[in-house]
C-alpha cells in the first residue's frame, strides 16, 4: 500500500501519496494548474507556497515544486505578488551610493525585522543583501542575492514594502555592467569579427566538402 498523507489546499482536505511534492500533490488532488507553475524544477519562482503544519504555530515558506508534502500540511500558494518595478536606463545610471536611494528609496525604511530572511524559500540572507544595497556595496548584494528565484514571498511579508528581488536584480546588473572588470578579449573579438578579420578563413572552411569537413572534425585537437 502506498503511504498517504493528509494535506489541505486552500483549507480543503485531500489524501495524497506522501512521496509527492506540493505541486504534484495538487495535481493528484485534481487541480489543473495554470498559475503557480512554471519550470517545475526550482528556477522560476512561480510556485511560492506558504504552509503550516497542523498543531504548529510557525508558518513555512517553500517552492511547491521542490518540497515534499508532509502530514497535516495546510498550504496556500502565491503565484503572483505585485512587486513595484521601477524603470531605469542602465546606460545612464552608475553604481553610486545614491542610485539605490533614487530608485528604491523604500529600502531605507527597513525596520530590521528579518521577516524577509525568515521567509526566503531559498534560504538566502535577504535582509543582509538589502543592507548591502543600502550601503552601496552592490557587489556583495549581488553575490548574496544571486540564487534568488523571485518567488516574492519576502515582499509579501515585508512591513516596509520592499520589493527585495528587484533590489537584488538592480545590484546584480550594476555589478555585471560596471563593477566586475570588463572582458576586453570578448569586446575585441566582437570588433575583429565585425571588421571582417575572420571572413576569409570562414569562407574557406565553409567551402570544404562534407568529407573534408569530417576529416577535420575527426582529427581536431582538444584543449586540455
Amino acid at each position: 500500500m502506498q503511504e498517504m498523507a493528509n494535506v489541505y489546499f486552500d483549507g480543503k482536505h485531500y489524501q495524497v501519496p506522501s512521496d509527492l511534492t506540493i505541486m504534484t500533490a495538487m495535481e493528484y488532488a485534481g487541480y489543473q494548474l495554470v498559475r503557480g507553475c512554471g519550470c517545475r524544477h526550482g528556477f522560476c519562482g512561480a510556485c511560492g507556497a506558504i504552509y503550516r503544519i497542523k498543531g504548529e504555530n510557525k508558518p513555512h515558506f517553500a517552492l511547491a515544486c521542490q518540497t515534499k508534502v508532509e502530514e497535516g500540511m495546510y498550504v496556500a500558494t502565491l503565484p503572483f505578488f505585485p512587486l513595484a518595478h521601477r524603470d531605469y536606463d542602465m546606460e545612464e545610471i552608475k553604481p553610486t551610493e545614491q542610485v539605490m536611494m533614487e530608485i528604491f528609496p523604500e529600502i531605507f525604511a527597513c525596520v530590521g525585522c528579518n521577516s524577509c530572511t525568515k521567509s526566503c524559500s531559498r534560504g538566502l540572507n535577504v535582509m543582509q543583501y538589502i543592507a548591502y544595497a543600502k550601503r552601496g556595496d552592490y557587489a556583495k548584494c549581488a553575490e548574496t542575492s544571486f540564487d534568488c528565484v523571485a518567488c516574492g514571498i519576502c515582499s509579501a511579508r515585508c512591513p516596509a514594502n520592499i520589493s527585495h528581488t528587484l533590489v537584488g536584480l538592480l545590484a546584480r546588473r550594476l555589478t555585471g555592467k560596471y563593477i566586475l572588470p570588463p572582458a576586453g578579449h570578448t569586446a575585441q573579438r566582437a570588433a575583429d569579427i565585425a571588421e571582417g578579420k575572420f571572413d576569409a578563413a570562414m569562407t574557406k572552411l565553409m567551402a570544404k566538402s562534407k568529407e573534408e569537413m569530417k576529416e577535420l572534425y575527426d582529427n581536431r585537437d582538444f584543449e586540455k
Partner: protein, 548 residues
C-alpha cells in the same frame, strides 16, 4: 550558499549503498585514467542501436502539410493531425484587441531579445506569453553559453565543433551567423549587466563541454539561463514594452495575401479569445519537452508543448529535423520527486564521470550528448549494469570527484543550484554520487528558418529560439542554444522591425485553418483532440483514478 535542510536521513536503498561503495573503491584509479573517446565507427554503432531517434519505434508518418511523408515522434504527428482549438468558432477578426507593429509570441530568452531589438529599431512591440514573462526553458539553462572569444579559439573552430556535433546537417549560413555573432552576444549581455563568471582581470572563465574542442562555455555559476533571462526581462520592462502574461497564441492570422498578420490569443485564466493584429509576427515559443516523446521524462518548463510548430505548420510553414530530439544524458533518476530534472553538463565538464553499478567508467564523460545518452541506455538495458531504481535503472554521476580535482568548496561555488536541489532530499553530492538517466531536453529541429530569421513560405513571419530549425543540424551542442536564443532572437527582432516599416496589412483571415482541417477530414486523420495543447495534463482523473 547554505542549503536549507542539512540533516536528513540517507534516501538511498541498500542496493544503491552497496554500489556506492564500489564507486568509491574505484575512484582513486579513475582519477588517474581518463576514459577513452570512442571512434567515429563506434559512435555510429552505438547511436544506431540505442538512440531513440535512430529506430522507428515511437515515430509515425506525417500525412498532410508541407512535411507529408516524413516521420516525426508520434506525439508530434498527433498534434499535427488534430483540430484547431478555434475549429467551428465564429471569431470576429474585425474586433481587434491589440494592434501592433511586431507581435512576439513567447516570453523566454528569444522573445525578450527580439523585443529589445525591435523596440530599439523603433517598432511598437507586443509580447504575449502563455505563463508569466520569463517562465520558460531559458530561465532554466544551467550549464552556459558558447562563444569563441579566446586566443586559442576562433569562429571557425566553433563552426567545426557544431557542424560535426550536428552530424553535418546544420544549415551553413545559419551556423555561420551563430558563430560569428558569439562574441558580440556575450558583449551585449555583459553591457546589459549579466554577471558572467570572470577572472580578476576581467577574462571570462570558460569551461569545456561535450563535443567542444575548446573551453568555450561561458557561465553564471549554474544559473546561467536564469541570470540572462531575468536581466533581459528587466530590460524589456525598462523599455516600456507591452507584455501580456497568461495569454497564449492559439493560431496565426494571415491576411488575404497570405502574409502573417497577427494571432488569435487565448487568456489562459478565463478562456477568452482575443485578436492581435500585427505587421510582423515572431514565433518564440520554445520546445516540446512536455510532450514526453517516447515516454521520456523532461527537463523542460511546463509550457513546452510545441505550440509554435503546430501554428506555423497549419499556416503552411515546413518543419526541419522534427524527428531529432536531444536526450540529455544526465536527467535525475532518483529521488522520484526530481525525476527528469536536469543535472547540468557542467558537472561532467568539471570532472564527474559516468559510472555503472560495478563502479566502472563506461564512457568518456564529455562525449556529445547523443553518444553519452546512448551509452547510458546501453549500460542499463543491454549490459544490465545499471543501478536499480524504483521503476527503472540509472547510472552514477560521480560528483565527489569534482571536489577532489578542484578542491573543497568547488561544488558550492560552481554548482550551487545542483547542490541545493539534491540537498533538499538529503543527498549531499559532495559526499555521494548521484543517479542519472537520459531525459528529454531539447528539440533539435523546428520550423525551418532562412538567413534573416524568416520563413521561406510566409512573409512577415519570423521564428527564433528553440522553435526554429536548421542551426544545429540533427544534434545541438550544449551552450549553443542559449547563444542561438540571443543571436537569432536579436536577428528576428531586427528583421521583423525592418519588415514592419513597409508591411501593409490586408484584410485578416483564418482560412488556412479551415483548409488545413479539410485536409485532416479528407485523409480521415482526426485524432479527436485539439492542438496546440498549451499545457500538459498531469491532473489525476479524480473520478477514475488515473495519475501519471
Amino acid at each position: 550558499m547554505k542549503p536549507k535542510q542539512m540533516t536528513k536521513p540517507s534516501p538511498f536503498t541498500p542496493h544503491m549503498l552497496e554500489s556506492i561503495r564500489k564507486v568509491e573503491a574505484t575512484r582513486g584509479v579513475r582519477l588517474q585514467n581518463e576514459p577513452r573517446r570512442l571512434s567515429a565507427d563506434e559512435k555510429r554503432v552505438l547511436l544506431d542501436e540505442f538512440h531513440p531517434d535512430y529506430g522507428d519505434k515511437g515515430f509515425s508518418k506525417i500525412e498532410i502539410g508541407p512535411n507529408a511523408g516524413e516521420k516525426a515522434p508520434k506525439e508530434l504527428t498527433a498534434l499535427l493531425h488534430s483540430k484547431s482549438r478555434i475549429s467551428g468558432l465564429d471569431l470576429d477578426l474585425n474586433k481587434i484587441d491589440f494592434d501592433t507593429d511586431v507581435l512576439i509570441i513567447g516570453g523566454g530568452g528569444a522573445g525578450a531579445s527580439a523585443a529589445i531589438e525591435a523596440k530599439q529599431a523603433g517598432s511598437d512591440v507586443l509580447i504575449v506569453t502563455k505563463l508569466r514573462m520569463g517562465d520558460s526553458n531559458s530561465m532554466m539553462a544551467e550549464g552556459g553559453i558558447q562563444a569563441s572569444d579566446k586566443d586559442n579559439d576562433s569562429p571557425m573552430q566553433h563552426y567545426l565543433d557544431a557542424m560535426g556535433g550536428g552530424h553535418y546537417y546544420n544549415k551553413p549560413e545559419l551556423l555561420k551567423h551563430l558563430v560569428m555573432q558569439g562574441a558580440e552576444a556575450i558583449r551585449w549581455l555583459e553591457s546589459l549587466g549579466v554577471m558572467f563568471d570572470k577572472h580578476q582581470d576581467g577574462t571570462m572563465m570558460t569551461f569545456p563541454g561535450g563535443g567542444l574542442s575548446r573551453k568555450r562555455l561561458h557561465a553564471c555559476a549554474d544559473y546561467t539561463g536564469a541570470e540572462i533571462t531575468r536581466v533581459l526581462k528587466d530590460e524589456v520592462s525598462n523599455l516600456g514594452i507591452k507584455i501580456v502574461d497568461y495569454t497564449a497564441a492559439v493560431e496565426l492570422i494571415l491576411d488575404k495575401d497570405g502574409n502573417a498578420a497577427g494571432a488569435v490569443l487565448m487568456n489562459m485564466l478565463t478562456g477568452e479569445y482575443l485578436i492581435a493584429r500585427a505587421k510582423t509576427v515572431i514565433i518564440a515559443t520554445g520546445g516540446a519537452g512536455r510532450m514526453h516523446y517516447h515516454g521520456f521524462p523532461t527537463t523542460n518548463h511546463y509550457g513546452a508543448t510545441a505550440d509554435g510548430l503546430v501554428m506555423a505548420y497549419r499556416a503552411g510553414c515546413n518543419l526541419l529535423y522534427q524527428d531529432t530530439i536531444q536526450y540529455h544524458p544526465t536527467g535525475t533518476a532518483y529521488p522520484v520527486q526530481l525525476f527528469g530534472a536536469l543535472v547540468t553538463e557542467k558537472v561532467r565538464a568539471v570532472g564527474a564521470m559516468l559510472i555503472n553499478v560495478e563502479g566502472e567508467a563506461f564512457v568518456h564523460p564529455l562525449e556529445t550528448r547523443d553518444v553519452a545518452a546512448s551509452a547510458i541506455i546501453r549500460e542499463c538495458h543491454s549490459h544490465k549494469l545499471g543501478v536499480d531504481i524504483p521503476g527503472g535503472a540509472g547510472v552514477w554521476l560521480d560528483t565527489p570527484m569534482i571536489e577532489i580535482i578542484h578542491g573543497e568548496g568547488k561544488i558550492a561555488s560552481a554548482l550551487p543550484g545542483m547542490l541545493r536541489m539534491f540537498m533538499n532530499y538529503g543527498i549531499d553530492m559532495r559526499q555521494t554520487p548521484v543517479l542519472v538517466y537520459p531525459t528529454f531536453h531539447y528539440q533539435n529541429g523546428g520550423v525551418e528558418i532562412e538567413a534573416s530569421g524568416n520563413t521561406s513560405r510566409i512573409h512577415n513571419l519570423f521564428i527564433a529560439g528553440e522553435a526554429a530549425g536548421g542551426i544545429h543540424g540533427r544534434n545541438r551542442l550544449l551552450g549553443n542554444s542559449m547563444l542561438d536564443v540571443i543571436v537569432f532572437g536579436r536577428l528576428a527582432g531586427q528583421s521583423a522591425a525592418k519588415a514592419a516599416k513597409t508591411a501593409k496589412i490586408g484584410s485578416l483571415t483564418l482560412n488556412h485553418v479551415k483548409e488545413y482541417e479539410s485536409q485532416i477530414a479528407a485523409a480521415k486523420l482526426d485524432t479527436g483532440d485539439i492542438s496546440p495543447i498549451l499545457l500538459p495534463k498531469y491532473t489525476r482523473d479524480v473520478n477514475f483514478g488515473k495519475f501519471q
